[in-house]
């Protein structure tokens, strides 16, 4: 049962990413990205990372994907949306895809990975909270400042320019 769900999640992740990469319609790409993000959240559950899976659903699907859909709707005229995501020089990109993908997958398969038996899944939220407030306190604070800077920067970059005469 677990294996079947895992295979479905893996197939959903790769198929979603494939549609994002190859679809000519950017609305299809955006919704395929939704499928891919959701299946990655499922893979996080298989990896016993419950908090990360919830964060993936909340931030990626609830935040980033809605932002991207807004970007699509605000910038694309609806009558030409079916050719809205053309590829530019796809032949070179195909060469890059095949070469880099082949090297990566060959390296992953050929390497003798030294793995340990994974621990049984436990709730990770408390451990993550401890890690954020002890070992990773400085990166945590820097991430908060970065979020504030990104918030202000996005507002300034996205607002309408008002010129004084």
């Amino acid at each position: 049962m677990g294996e079947i769900v895992f295979i479905a999640l893996a197939v959903g992740t790769t198929v979603g990413a494939g549609v994002v990469a190859f679809s000519k319609n950017i609305v299809y790409s955006a919704f395929a990205l939704l499928l891919s993000f959701f299946c990655v959240a499922g893979l996080y559950v298989f990896l016993a990372a419950d908090f990360v899976a919830a964060t993936q659903v909340i931030v990626y699907i609830g935040g980033i994907l809605v932002l991207i859909l807004f970007g699509v709707m605000l910038t694309e005229k609806i009558e030409k949306v079916n050719i809205s995501n053309q590829a530019l020089k796809p032949f070179r990109a195909w060469i890059l895809l095949i070469v880099s993908g082949g090297i990566l997958i060959a390296a992953i398969v050929k390497t003798n990975w030294i793995t340990k038996a994974p621990l049984p899944p436990t709730p990770t939220t408390g451990e993550l909270g401890n890690a954020f407030l002890t070992r990773y306190l400085l990166p945590f604070e820097i991430a908060s400042v970065l979020l504030l800077v990104a918030l202000i920067g996005a507002i300034i970059a996205g607002r309408k320019e008002v010129r004084r005469k």
Binding site: T13, T14, F37, Q56, L74, L146, E161
Partner: protein, 101 residues
């Protein structure tokens, strides 16, 4: 039993498709989607390695930082894309070359 290699191969496929998207798309929003795929693959690799090799929580901490970075990056990138669209009425990345001319 699902091995580490399976997760790493899924991450590699996501990374490669993300790179293809970034390299080949004309639409700037499409390029942004490719960047999100790449960041997702990095996060998946971090969690997988921390579960099978390190047996600790550190990889999950890094994945959460990646998600934070992806959120702020998406917000700023969409702000830039929208203001570019207001000025030039196009979102095609190959037309954004007014600094070169």
């Amino acid at each position: 039993m699902i091995s580490l290699q399976t997760y790493l191969i899924i991450g590699a496929i996501l990374l490669v498709l993300g790179i293809y998207t970034v390299v080949s798309r004309r639409n700037a929003v499409g390029i942004l989607m490719g960047v999100e795929l790449i960041l997702n693959s990095a996060g998946l690799n971090f969690v997988a390695v921390s579960r099978f090799v390190e047996l600790s929580i550190d990889g999950q901490v890094f994945t959460i930082f990646i998600i934070v970075l992806a959120a702020s990056e998406a917000a700023v990138a969409l702000g830039i894309i929208l203001s570019y669209f207001q000025t030039y009425a196009s979102v095609y990345a190959d037309r954004a070359d007014s600094l070169r001319r």
